[in-house]
């Protein structure tokens, strides 16, 4: 690392200018681990941007704007709530030390299919605020993901924030091979709304669901939505969940690697889909008591 220049951007505009010839660096929890051998130009420290705004803000349209350069522990601590899927994912992310450094922007830009913060962004229809010397653009998170280690960020661009749509119920579950500091073998974020206006409970007792979104990690070249499984999940009865758990196999393209076989990834994801039933029922119950 000798002789490596680190430029501190203290304003977003300064970051735009510096990123035109350098490489953004935030928590450095990926970049330093992967090594700087292939990295050209200087490093632009995005964590030095002086930002008077809090890491999470509620926008006028009801969405929440989450900083892409703040440490994710600050997002979890924020008084302004973010969707549960995101706080769940932060809670299951690495370890406290890493959470005090790692950022949302780095997690997205790193392009890992196992990135823990991406599935929550996908199920909340997040739109990323991307900028650079050539101006700003809004990119839906799904369009950002291009493949393992690849995104559609253009040279000189950096991610400033993500705007998340409000969702009544959401969550995230990571399956790692240990309880901390482990890469996800499979992960699943979900969001949904109650299907009927009152309690979501149909006359037969089955729970009706509306606008179900599932996003799975580490089962395809990028984090993916699972439209077939989503379509099957109209109610939370056993048949529906069975159908969704079977259908999810066709939503994904897992591979064998060091951590797990493709068979297990698919099987475990189906397991996480089955687990949704009790999770959703519980949320509904708790949601009901919270709302008079």
């Amino acid at each position: 690392m000798t002789g490596r220049a680190l430029a501190r951007a203290d304003t977003p505009a300064a970051a735009d200018a510096l990123c035109a010839r350098g490489r953004p660096l935030a928590g450095a929890t990926d970049l330093l681990v992967h090594g700087l051998d292939g990295v050209r130009g200087e490093l632009v420290d995005l964590t030095a941007i002086h930002d008077p705004r809090p890491p999470v803000e509620r926008l006028a349209d009801g969405r929440v704007r989450v900083s892409a350069t703040a440490p994710i522990s600050a997002i979890a601590r924020s008084p302004e709530p973010v969707p549960v899927a995101l706080t769940d994912a932060i809670a299951q992310f690495a370890s406290p030390q890493i959470r005090n450094r790692a950022t949302l922007g780095g997690n997205i830009a790193n392009g890992s299919p196992a990135a823990d913060l991406v599935p929550p962004l996908v199920v909340t229809d997040a739109v990323l605020g991307v900028r650079g010397a050539d101006g700003r653009r809004s990119v839906p998170v799904g369009e950002m993901l291009a493949g393992p280690g690849r995104t559609t960020l253009r040279p000189g661009e950096w991610i400033e924030y993500a705007d998340l749509a409000p969702v009544p119920h959401s969550g995230f579950r990571k399956l790692g091979y240990r309880r901390a500091l482990a890469v996800a073998v499979v992960s699943l974020a979900w969001s949904w709304s109650p299907g009927s206006p009152r309690s979501g409970t149909e006359p037969g007792g089955a729970v009706a669901l509306h606008d179900v979104r599932l996003a799975a990690g580490a089962v395809a070249p990028t984090v993916v939505r699972c439209p077939r499984a989503e379509a099957a999940l109209n109610t939370l009865d056993a048949t529906c969940v069975d159908t969704a758990a079977t259908a999810v196999h066709d939503d994904i393209a897992p591979i064998d690697d060091l951590r797990a076989s493709a068979w297990y990834r698919a099987d475990a994801l189906a397991g996480l889909v089955r687990e949704l039933a009790p999770a959703a029922t519980r949320q509904l119950r708790e949601g009901d008591t919270a709302q008079p």
Partner: protein, 780 residues
């Protein structure tokens, strides 16, 4: 806890005993504050830095080694290859391996060249510039490898051990129930926090090596042998070291250091990276173990039939002794009228396997305890009851060898102590709380492990004592301290033997120049062997103090001055570990070949956990660890050993698996070789069982290995009780558990993937009818 007081009158009424008290470790404050200087922290002016060039191939002939570019790098002082080693062998025969490979490499990571340079970066760069030409050879990737070559000219069998008592075949065929369990256990990495390394200096014809070692005596011999030096010209300072667990038993780092310092005549520092340590360092021997147990209907054990195949990698260091331990412990704590063991240690081009806490016990215990637990289910018996009914009783004959087992064995009390814990007693209520996919279960398992090197080995520890005129008692003793704070326990033993305050006592360990040869920090022997030597040397001084007129009741300062003045201030003693009283069925001339133990430590453990039947995840909720250590000289340190052992057992059970693909390592960092984190280790409740080993210091015996052993089978039994699926392969990864559950429920596992699941592969590997690991025929 019972405590035996030493003979003689108590000379200092003011002294209250410290044996049985949890004194903090001598170095504790310095360790916690980061002040302790470990061997790899050592720096001196003008020192050089070493680096190792290692093999990229699992098996290849070396056709060329070109060091020209490396040697011409500015700052490089020496580049050493096989021809530069005066005697290029790490042990007494070629199957122990070369210091630096010259003709053939037999594993990835094998050392080929050493570099010394002005700074570590230059040394590393130069080592990478060394060009080695290889002619690849077929790879022997395990005991079942079909490769038409052998790892060594003599074949792929490094050793075998067979023994039978009674008539196992007949007993099995007449048993009411035969349980047949075929298991595999993984190559486990020690993950000592400090990676190997240190410093060496060559001065006036003598070499001094500062490098972590569990066996300074052996390391001195290896260095003297490689450099053709007189043993007296080799000094090894082997601590402070940041952990060992067996990995510092025959680690070659001291030899590399010595070689570099000897060639350059300058101090040389070397510190291996984690990756090098994982790739080139020793592992726990991966085993395949098949156990068949015969029971009668009432649950009485009729026969134990155990077969084990161990993969020792390319060189045999501890392998044959590991197999010896497996043989002795293949019957565990149980009494059976018929017992057989048939074991093989095989060479391969996989990771070199060596000593690891438990030393052959965890592998066979996993199979045996799983079989006992399954037998309990089959017979409708309580898992505690079936164990209790079949335990070897103190003073009984050992099932396999028939030697007498020490009267201090408290196997039944240890089992009862574990089973008395609410986590066992309330297991039904625990199971009833299962919710959704998370099924709750509870398991129990137990083990014994011999203390010391075993009978016929002349296992000895020594101590030297000098009283200073200022009233300090200095004691030089071994075995060495490798993280367990044995020096603190030696002080406690010395203080109570002498009846003086422990603050007056200084214990020195780990310097071969000063400490008399005391053998390895291994085989759970430090407390028992070293503690006994300390007890004896203090006993000599104590006898003098008890002579009329020596201890006048004055302060110890005056007594000490008098001892020095009268030339009675220096003492030496040795403790030879007693052999078994009766060697049973072992032919007297072969006693050392089987090396049975009289003294065993014992542990029984209870595990409560949850298994997610949808994903195969396991969450541990608690481990009870009951330990029979005789008298715990330092209960706090004993509990520390127990908790560390359970954590390592959890790793072995659930996470740790060093994997290779055709001899090429794939889990080469702690990112993909997972060990438990603080989040993965559940609350551990250690119960110290009251006991007393008459031949040990103040009644103590060893316990540091046995605590690793029951964890995996107790976890497996808990998984079995939660789900009905009985794991046979370690580690029990979520994938293996899930594959097992889906196979049990008849779900298809592989229709969606071209690849079979890990559990299926492991199942296919397990071919019970083909257990013999004959050497592969053909070219060598």
């Amino acid at each position: 806890m019972t405590r035996e007081t030493t003979q003689g009158t108590s000379r200092a009424p003011a002294h209250t005993g410290v044996v049985g008290r949890s004194l903090p470790a001598d170095d504790a404050a310095a360790i916690v504050a980061g002040d302790l200087e470990y061997v790899t922290d050592r720096r001196v002016d003008g020192m050089l830095h070493g680096a190792v060039h290692r093999s990229a191939h699992p098996h290849a002939r070396i056709v060329s080694v070109d060091t020209a570019r490396a040697a011409s790098e500015p700052g490089v002082v020496a580049v050493l290859t096989a021809g530069d080693v005066p005697c290029n062998q790490l042990g007494t025969d070629s199957e122990n391996g070369a210091v630096l490979a010259g003709d053939v490499v037999r594993q990835v990571g094998e050392a080929i060249a050493l570099v010394a340079a002005a700074d570590p970066e230059t040394a590393r760069r130069a080592a990478d510039l060394i060009e080695v030409g290889y002619e690849p050879l077929p790879v022997v990737d395990g005991p079942d490898s079909p490769a038409p070559v052998t790892v060594h000219p003599r074949g792929n069998v490094a050793g075998t051990l067979t023994f039978e008592s009674g008539d196992v075949a007949t007993a099995l065929s007449s048993s009411d129930l035969v349980v047949d369990v075929d298991t595999t256990t993984s190559a486990q990495e020690h993950v000592a926090i400090e990676t190997p390394g240190g410093m060496a200096e060559w001065d006036l014809g003598k070499i001094t090596v500062w490098c972590g070692s569990q066996n300074p005596g052996l390391h001195r011999k290896l260095v003297a042998h490689a450099l053709r030096l007189n043993l007296d010209d080799v000094r090894l300072v082997s601590n402070p070291v940041g952990g060992a667990f067996g990995s510092r038993n025959d680690d070659p780092a001291p030899v590399y250091l010595a070689l570099l310092a000897w060639h350059t005549t300058r101090p040389v520092h070397l510190h291996l990276s984690r990756r090098e340590t994982i790739v080139a360092g020793p592992k726990r021997h991966p085993y395949r173990t098949r156990v068949r147990l015969g029971f009668d209907r009432a649950g009485t054990l009729r026969a134990i039939d155990s077969r084990a195949v161990a993969d020792t990698g390319p060189y045999v260091t501890a392998g044959r002794n590991v197999l010896k331990t497996s043989a002795e412990l293949s019957s565990g704590p149980y009494a059976a009228p018929n017992a057989r063991f048939d074991g093989t240690v095989a060479y391969s081009n996989n990771a070199n396997a060596g000593a690891f806490r438990g030393f052959g016990a965890p592998q066979v215990a996993f199979a045996l305890e799983t079989a006992v637990s399954e037998a309990a289910v089959e017979l409708g018996l309580d898992p505690v009851q079936i164990r209790r009914a079949n335990l070897t009783r103190p003073g009984d004959a050992h099932s396999l060898y028939g030697h007498t087992v020490s009267r201090s064995l408290r196997a039944s009390q240890t089992l009862d102590a574990a089973a008395a814990h609410p986590w066992w007693r309330d297991r039904d209520a625990w199971a009833a709380g299962s919710a959704g996919p998370w099924r709750r279960g509870t398991g129990i398992a137990m083990a014994i492990k011999g203390v010391g090197m075993g009978s016929g080995k002349g296992d000895t520890a020594r101590a030297r004592l000098i009283v200073s005129a200022t009233g300090t008692v200095n004691i030089w003793a071994g075995p060495n301290h490798t993280g367990q704070a044995i020096g603190t326990a030696y002080r406690q033993i010395a203080a109570d033997t002498l009846g003086i305050d422990h603050d007056r006592i200084r214990v020195h360990v780990g310097d071969s120049e000063l400490v008399p040869e005391s053998g390895a920090t291994a085989a759970s022997r430090s407390m028992y062997a070293g503690g006994s030597a300390v007890h004896q040397v203090c006993g000599r001084l104590r006898a003098v103090l008890d002579e009329p007129g020596v201890d006048t009741g004055a302060s110890f300062d005056d007594v000490a001055a008098h001892l020095v003045a009268s030339g009675r201030a220096e003492y030496e003693a040795e403790f030879v570990l007693p052999d078994v009283d009766d060697i049973g069925r072992i032919p007297p001339e072969a006693l050392a070949d089987y090396a049975p133990h009289a003294v065993y430590g014992c542990s029984a453990q209870v595990v409560r956990l949850e298994v997610n039947t949808l994903t195969g995840e396991i969450r541990l909720h608690g481990v009870v660890c009951a330990v029979d250590a005789g008298v715990a000289v330092n209960p706090g340190a004993t509990v520390g050993q127990a908790e560390g052992g359970v954590a390592q057992g959890v790793g072995f059970a659930l996470f740790e698996e060093y994997r290779l693909d055709a001899g090429v390592p794939v889990t080469t960092s702690l990112e993909n070789y997972l060990i438990p984190t603080a989040m993965d280790v559940p609350p551990i409740e250690t119960v110290l069982v009251t006991g007393h080993e008459n031949t040990g210091p103040f009644g103590a015996k060893g316990m540091s290995e046995v605590v690793v052993v029951p964890t995996a089978p107790a976890i497996a039994a808990a998984v079995g009780s939660a789900t009905g699926f009985w794991p046979r392969h370690l580690p029990m990864t979520p994938e293996r558990v899930r594959a097992g559950l889906s196979a049990m429920s008849g779900e298809g596992t592989s229709e969606r993937s071209g690849r079979r699941s890990a559990a299926e592969r492991a199942r296919t590997r397990a071919r019970p009818e083909n257990m013999s690991a004959e050497p592969a025929e053909g070219a060598s």
